[in-house]
Amino acid sequence: MITHHLSEKLLMAYSAGTLPEAFNLAVATHLAMCDECRARLASYDAIGGAVLERVEDAAAPMPHEALAATLSRIKAQVPSERIGESGKARQEGWTLPEPLRSYVGGDVQDVKWRNVGGGVRQAVIPTSENATARLLYIPAGKAVPDHGHHGMELTLVLQGAFADDEDCFSRGDIEIADEGTEHQPIAQAGADCICLAVTDAPLKFRGLLPRLAQPFLGI
């Protein structure tokens, strides 16, 4: 059961469409696993609907020919476009839910991991430049390098679990860390832990070696 959910702030920013792509990816992947946050998101989307409804139509009238132009575009469409994407049933049995799976180009076995030391592996997921997304693979019982944060970091658990001093996070849980959060998460025994980590600033590792390695890791 998911016990760590999206914050109101993140849900509102996702609904408003103002998050960087990497954060959108983490939020959307959590939503794929969490019906509770989906319902909460729907209420934020409803604010967007109310805001749209309140935009005065006199402020930006459409020219008279716009309706006819739109209707002729509709008629000119080839049939395959008109069908659109039909609602897909939620697919079970994947470790990486959509939309993450599309970003990776497959499930966990398709991830191109790179070792970053101590048995920890990572794979950077290309997104737009203002934030970074990567998958982390942490062997059971191993620690993620001790680090603090410059900006905001979201960590979404996809397999296994990790815990820091205060809390335990398992599949579907999302940890929201910001400036000032310093912790040493440890992957729980049992299964190796896979997480999606996104950040809007480079992580600052506290040990000397990770700091030296940082420019080469792209994190």
Partner: protein, 216 residues
């Protein structure tokens, strides 16, 4: 007996359910503070969109277009697009409305909310060229047919949210609107006191809670 294909069955029933419930609702609640007109307003768009979905009804689409296309255009202009770009994108949004009308679920969103999400996604493409990751759409198992009461409740709560936002002091309302236009500066977002969330007063919170309740 009836010539209704399985695909169109749920939406047809939902539309007629809304029609029926509006009449009932009007009768039961007449004279109370809750305005039956508001409910019918939301339900009107639901019925029109169902006609677009099931009958490819261009008259129904025209009504939806005339109400929403200028609003989408205005929304995109407030998000930073110029006249020409906003107009072109508003047309794109309305083409998507036509194409995806059958996917609209009146038990999950008002028509305004649904069109907002399409316009927002178009804006992300337009202004940033980012991809917009979305979770998979859920289907609702064998009971895909929306429950009549769910449809009516959701549409009603959405209308109430509109009037709750309208009744906010101007400064707070403008903040929420700017957040959804994507028009808050970094310092405004970073400043906790300026966060739109801080301005969501109890009435909005209450409306949100009720919406959530009706969605869960």
């Amino acid at each position: 007996m009836f010539d209704i294909t399985p695909q169109t069955l749920p939406s047809r029933q939902a539309a007629s359910a809304v029609n029926m419930l509006c009449v009932q609702h009007d009768g039961y609640r007449r004279g109370k503070r809750q305005s039956a007109v508001d409910v019918q307003n939301g339900a009107k768009w639901v019925v029109l969109l169902e006609k677009v979905a099931t009958e490819k009804d261009t008259d129904a689409f025209t009504e939806v277009f005339e109400h929403f296309a200028p609003r989408v255009k205005g929304f995109l202009m407030k998000s930073g697009a110029d006249h020409a770009l906003a107009e072109e994108c508003a047309q794109d949004v309305m083409v998507t409305v036509w194409n995806k009308a059958a996917q609209f679920d009146p038990a999950r969103a008002s028509v305004a909310t649904w069109i907002f999400t399409i316009a927002r996604n178009r804006r992300i493409d337009m202004l940033r060229r980012d991809r917009r990751p979305e979770p998979e759409e859920l289907t609702w198992g064998p009971e895909a047919e929306p429950d009549q009461l769910d449809v009516m409740t959701l549409q009603q709560e959405s209308e109430q949210l509109i009037s709750a936002i309208a009744s906010l002091p101007e400064k707070q309302r403008v903040m929420i609107e700017r957040a959804y236009f994507g028009d808050l500066t970094h310092s405004e977002i970073a400043d906790e006191t300026g966060l739109p969330l801080g301005t969501i007063k109890s009435r909005i919170r209450l409306a949100l809670e009720r919406l959530r309740h009706s969605l869960s």
